[in-house]
């Protein structure tokens, strides 16, 4: 193996089509002309019984082919299987009860996506609300509402583990240091959303689904079981290009089931492309975790034992591959440190939030957030240098391969050297000088440090650590991590490679062409690499897919073994054609030649094509050398043993990060001044790709640490449903990190490479948090490090942000509130009568289809209302009270619709200005839930104000028979919305009620 060729930075094979708009992503591919489109009707409430679901009107809409509810889904499927035995049924649509905002309740199949969405708006549902359980603390309370009745509580797993002698260590230690931390929910949000085209053949009872799913393909068995077919009756295919995933696209499997059922019921192929609001609301989240971590520490800062208590929130259902997030780090719970006494308690709870699944880092961010906050606290409490505390505890280079307390086997590393080099090359000394100078100027500047072990190539058996040894024995062993690669030659002697890997931007084709080209003495440009997967046609196994940073270490390894085997067989053919011994043949630059006479040569192509054209001339055993398929699994990945020890990952890279941040005490803004990240990921196969993984992971981590949170309101509404409300950082927020490398090749992988894709999502959030703790001199740090949280940490009240012209009135405490006044040319009585007249109301309420008076003071209206991407029909019930004709009235209202719900109250006063003019003064407060809430109350406030203004302007116009109101009163908030936001809102609203 020629290391220079491999550690190359060659341009990517993938790029040509991608930079010219000729990529082949999910939604770019041609489909059968019979294909219909699917749209999903989702729950607008967090927790409720479905009292009534009416899809009749949706079914009758022209262009609708089918509306599918839990009845059809249950008729054709079984619940989605999960790795632990609990009485929790997870179906791809809500059955009788909804448990999170965004949970699918029904799906519509129609001729076009526009019609399908129209039909979704016609679905009516009545909910009987239950108490929403929105936090881990709440879920564990004895009197909390229970999500799954048969379970009897919200706790679905509670296991404890003990390795070494933690109790003795705590007894004997000089100090105990502990941290209590909460890791919030976030998601890596690939820019391409989920997409599926599903079809069903009734004659063979076979499903086919093309989807930008990313693996692991163990999920294939979950889907096949749910569809009640044999594995071979579910043909799962992936498109050539996928627009990012970072784990997230694993979680589209419930939708694969749903689309398959939809295709079966509708009798046509069905296509679904998820939209962004759906993605943020209901695709998948990383887990939120509450951790208490205690350490027994000597006075020198040596950690003698760790005691973990972790409570994981997996959302409304425990869904495959959970509880993997909680168990992925099982073998490396002591991080980069030599600690042999360890206690762990792992609990899993369910809450009324979106179910969780793979997300870059997968368990690492949660674990290292606690562990590395703890290391920083040890330094502070024992008055030691944080870097010294890290160094004192690091595993030493002579200890490798190192067996951790919980059974992990660290392959290689020189952690001390990596730290030293990082400090030296990264300029740590200068950074300290910088901090001191900044502090002298009165700035809040802090330095953070972090050491992490980055696990990669997951053991398919680690998740069974959630079972007791007895349960495991019963279920049978699970282990290994099979990777699959095929290298073949065609009749022209050219080489193709296929792997079961499913890349989403990691440049697999380029790296594989380099690896295989290197083995076969060919130029990378001569190798064709195919990475799309077809489960019926291609070689694959349950570990196939692109996750746990397994590509370089495992998949490239398998490809190099396959290429090596083919090379050996072809060398035999060449030897016989050259009439020399096999050991006398060399393969260099596209030709086999004699070692002692380079002029006696025969081209690679010619030798490689022999098996096709003249197989009879090939001597020796076995079939002609046309194709080698390798299924490689490392022996180090054994099943958990009887003492619950498990080597959860094959490779363990090392990361040491440090950074300097400045916190603006007035605004709570955190600015990253410098970030240095040192990686030992073993042998680097492609420098550009490795550094790209680091900058990409770093950006995700900065987003998770400072900006992003999949946030919910107390009532269970989801409030981060757009990219405006879930603020993914841009090029203005992400600094360029300084990237450094050391290299200790892995002895366990064929090429010596280790994974590198996830490390910074584990190390960076806590490194930044440690820096903030240093800057503010605080003990507890809460992510995200948003201005709100920073000011809270500093015990400063958040400055009132600009809700323009907020009314001071009685409703100001409501999330949406406002008021205003307008003077119109009409008497109070005339206006009063108009306000009580359904016909008039129908004409002047923006977006109103109908108004009916159900009693003297009660009305029911059907109104279309929309903000931005979210618009839909609402049924609004309004009741008037405190009537003082014709002077004033109070009203309460409730709105329900496909996209959310709301309630509000208000008051109107009619004040005569003179004989002909009346001033109408109004004030309202409201609250919104469901999808509409997820676009953010910022937008809703403005939107509501515009609707109110339009209503009263229209009223004024109507009252004076198409005249115009005499104008808005200065100082009220019904001044026309000006500026960009106002105009944008107006546009969005118009789209909503068109």
């Amino acid at each position: 193996m020629n290391s220079d060729t491999l550690n190359s930075d060659s341009p990517r094979i993938e790029d040509g089509p991608l930079v010219t708009g000729r990529g082949r992503f999910m939604d770019d591919l041609p489909v059968s002309v019979r294909t219909a489109q699917m749209a999903v009707f989702r729950s607008s409430v967090a927790h409720a019984r479905i009292a009534r679901l009416n899809v009749d009107e949706a079914r009758l809409l022209p262009g609708v082919l089918a509306v599918i509810t839990s009845r059809e889904v249950m008729a054709h499927t079984a619940p989605l299987a999960v790795g632990i035995r609990v009485p929790v049924e997870c179906w791809p649509v809500a059955v009788d009860r909804v448990r999170y905002v965004g949970e699918p309740v029904a799906v519509v199949v129609a001729e076009s996506r526009y019609i399908a969405e129209d039909a979704v708006d016609l679905i009516e549902v009545d909910y009987e609300p239950y108490e929403p359980v929105m936090s881990i603390d709440h879920a564990l309370k004895a009197d909390a509402a229970i999500l799954h009745d048969k379970l009897g509580s919200n706790l679905c797993s509670d296991r404890s583990f003990c390795y070494g002698e933690p109790d003795a260590a705590f007894e004997q230690s000089d100090h105990t240091v502990s941290v209590d931390v909460l890791y919030p929910r976030n998601s890596c949000t690939p820019i391409e959303t989920y997409g599926i085209v599903a079809d069903y053949d009734a004659h063979t009872n076979t499903y086919e689904a093309l989807t930008n799913f990313q693996g692991p393909f163990s999920i294939h068995t979950v889907v096949a079981r749910a569809l009640k077919v044999a594995g071979t009756q579910l043909r799962l295919k992936t498109p050539p290009d996928s627009g990012g995933s970072f784990g997230v696209k694993q979680a589209q499997f419930p939708y694969v089931v749903l689309a398959c059922v939809a295709a079966r019921v509708a009798g046509v192929p069905v296509k679904w492309i998820e939209d962004r609001v759906e993605h943020l609301t209901a695709s998948v989240s990383a887990t939120s975790r509450q951790t208490t971590l205690r350490a027994a520490v000597s006075s020198e800062g040596r950690v003698l034992a760790l005691d973990w208590s972790q409570v994981e929130d997996v959302g409304a259902f425990i869904r495959a591959p959970e509880p993997a997030t909680l168990y992925r780090m099982m073998g490396n719970m002591c991080g980069a440190y030599d600690i042999q006494n360890l206690r762990i308690r792992n609990r899993i709870v369910m809450t009324n939030r979106t179910p969780t699944g793979l997300n870059r880092g997968f368990g690492g961010p949660q674990v290292y957030y606690a562990l590395e906050r703890l290391m920083q606290r040890i330094a502070v409490e024992l008055k030691l240098d944080p870097v010294d505390v890290i160094r004192t505890n690091l595993i030493r280079s002579e200890q490798f391969p190192y067996r951790t307390a919980s059974g992990g086997l660290y392959d290689s590393g020189d952690y001390q050297l990596s730290v030293d080099e990082a400090l030296r090359q990264g300029g740590f000394g200068e950074l300290v000088t910088r901090r001191n100078a900044a502090r002298r100027e009165g700035k809040r500047y802090g330095i953070g440090t972090t050491a992490c072990v980055e696990p990669s190539v997951s053991n398919m058996g680690y998740i069974t650590a959630v079972l007791t040894p007895e349960e495991r024995a019963k279920a049978g062993p699970k282990n290994g991590a099979i990777s699959t690669a095929t290298v073949s030659v065609d009749p022209s002697g050219s080489v193709a490679v296929h792997v079961a890997s499913v890349p989403q931007g990691q440049g697999h084709r380029t790296v594989l062409a380099n690896v295989v080209g290197d083995e076969l003495g060919l130029d990378a440009a001569e190798i064709t690499v195919v990475t799309e997967l077809d489960t019926t046609r291609d070689g694959w196994s349950i570990a196939s897919g692109n996750y746990s940073s397994r590509f370089a270490a495992a998949v490239c390894g398998a490809a190099s073994i396959a290429a090596d085997r083919l090379r050996l067989r072809l060398t035999e053919v060449a030897a016989s054609q050259l009439n020399v011994r096999v050991d006398e043949v060399r393969l260099i630059k596209g030709a086999f030649s004699c070692a002692d006479d380079a002029t006696r040569a025969i081209s690679f192509k010619r030798v490689a094509s022999t098996g096709h054209w003249a197989p009879g001339t090939i001597t020796g055993d076995g079939p002609p050398p046309l194709r080698e398929t390798v299924f490689w699994t490392p022996p180090e990945l054994a099943a958990p043993d009887a003492d619950d020890r498990v080597n959860s990952s094959l490779c363990h890279g090392f990361i040491f990060d440090f950074c300097g941040v400045e916190v603006d005490v007035d605004t709570g803004q955190v600015t990253i001044d410098k970030y240095v990240t040192m990686h030992d990921c073993g042998r680097v196969l492609h420098q550009g790709m490795v550094d790209g993984q680091i900058t990409g992971g770093f950006a995700h981590a900065v987003g998770a640490a400072i900006y992003e949170e999949l946030a919910y309101a107390q009532d269970g509404s989801f409030v981060a449903g757009t990219f405006a409300d879930y603020p993914v950082p841009t090029s203005m927020e992400i600094p360029d990190p300084v990237i450094l490398h050391t290299c200790t090749p892995s002895p366990f992988t064929p090429l010596g490479a280790k994974g590198v894709g996830e490390g910074n999502t584990m190390s960076t959030p806590v490194c930044l948090a440690n820096a903030v703790a240093d800057a503010l001199d605080v003990d507890d740090v809460q992510l995200p490090l948003s201005p709100t949280n920073i000011l809270k940490m500093m015990n400063v009240a958040e400055p009132e942000t600009s809700t323009p012209a907020a009314s001071p009135g009685a409703f100001a405490s409501r999330p949406i509130h406002g008021g205003g006044s307008v003077t119109v040319n009409a008497t109070p009585l005339k206006i009063w009568l108009m306000l009580l007249d359904p016909q008039t109301l129908r004409e002047i309420v923006p977006g109103c289809h109908s108004v009916d008076r159900v009693s003297g003071t009660d009305f029911v209206a059907h109104v279309r209302f929309g903000v931005g991407p979210v618009s839909g029909d609402y049924k609004v019930e309004i009741g008037l009270f405190d009537l003082d004709e014709p002077h004033s009235a109070s009203l309460v209202g409730n709105a329900t619709g496909a996209l959310g719900n709301g309630s509000g109250e208000g008051r109107i006063e009619l004040k005569p200005v003179d004989k002909t003019q009346t001033e109408i003064v109004w004030e309202y407060g409201a609250h919104a839930g469901g999808r509409v809430a997820s676009v953010g109350s910022r937008l809703l406030n403005g939107a509501t104000r515009i609707v109110m203004n339009r209503f009263f302007e229209a009223l004024g116009r109507q009252a004076q028979d198409e005249g115009s109101p005499s104008g808005a009163e200065p100082g009220s908030d019904n001044e026309p919305e000006t500026g960009l936001i106002g105009r944008a809102l107006d546009r969005l609203l118009k789209r909503g009620d068109s």
Binding site: V19, M689, T695, F723, T730, S731, D736, G868
Partner: protein, 166 residues
């Protein structure tokens, strides 16, 4: 302004990448959907449909625009440029595209078409744009793969190369 009844299909004629093309659209059809599914120009991507991610960015009459925030019927008679029109020939790349390849300015490539349109426009209008200006324009786009660092590098390299060629 032309009034189009809801649900009625109308013909929309527009110049795209130098050729006049015609397709059918409803009044509510988004321009992004029209380009992708009616005209088959799938290089323009859709990442949010609410104007934030920038994946759907195209040029309309020389100015950059979010095609997900426009209706197809609004561009009748306009001149549009999409990612498919950026390369000088099918087998070659523009200076900016080439710089993206050389500096690994893309990974999955889903955000890339929109970014290339914006940066191409910037370098055309402001050939001396500095790093801050490039970052500013780039901040109208979300990329989840690259962390932006290599994109900024690619843009700076393209800027320098274009100046050399000038």
């Amino acid at each position: 302004m032309r009034r189009i009844p809801a649900n009625e299909q109308v013909r929309v004629s527009v110049e795209v990448n130098g050729r006049v093309v015609t397709g059918q659209a409803e009044s509510r059809t988004l321009l992004s959907d029209f380009l992708r599914h009616e005209l088959g120009l799938t290089g323009t991507h859709v990442g949010c449909e609410h104007g934030v991610c920038g994946a759907c960015t195209i040029r309309i009459d020389g100015d950059i625009a979010r095609s997900c925030l426009k209706l197809a019927v609004q561009v009748e008679g306009a001149s549009i440029e999409t990612i498919e029109g950026l390369a000088p020939a099918p087998d070659s790349l523009s200076v900016l595209q080439q710089a993206f390849v050389e500096h690994h300015g893309l990974q999955c490539g889903f955000c890339t078409p929109g970014i290339l349109i914006s940066l191409d426009t910037l370098l055309r209008n402001e050939p001396n744009a500095d790093e801050m200006r490039i970052r500013e324009v780039l901040s109208g786009h979300l990329c989840r793969c690259t962390g932006y660092t290599p994109i900024v590098k690619a843009a700076l390299a393209a800027r320098d190369r274009l100046k050399e060629l000038d």
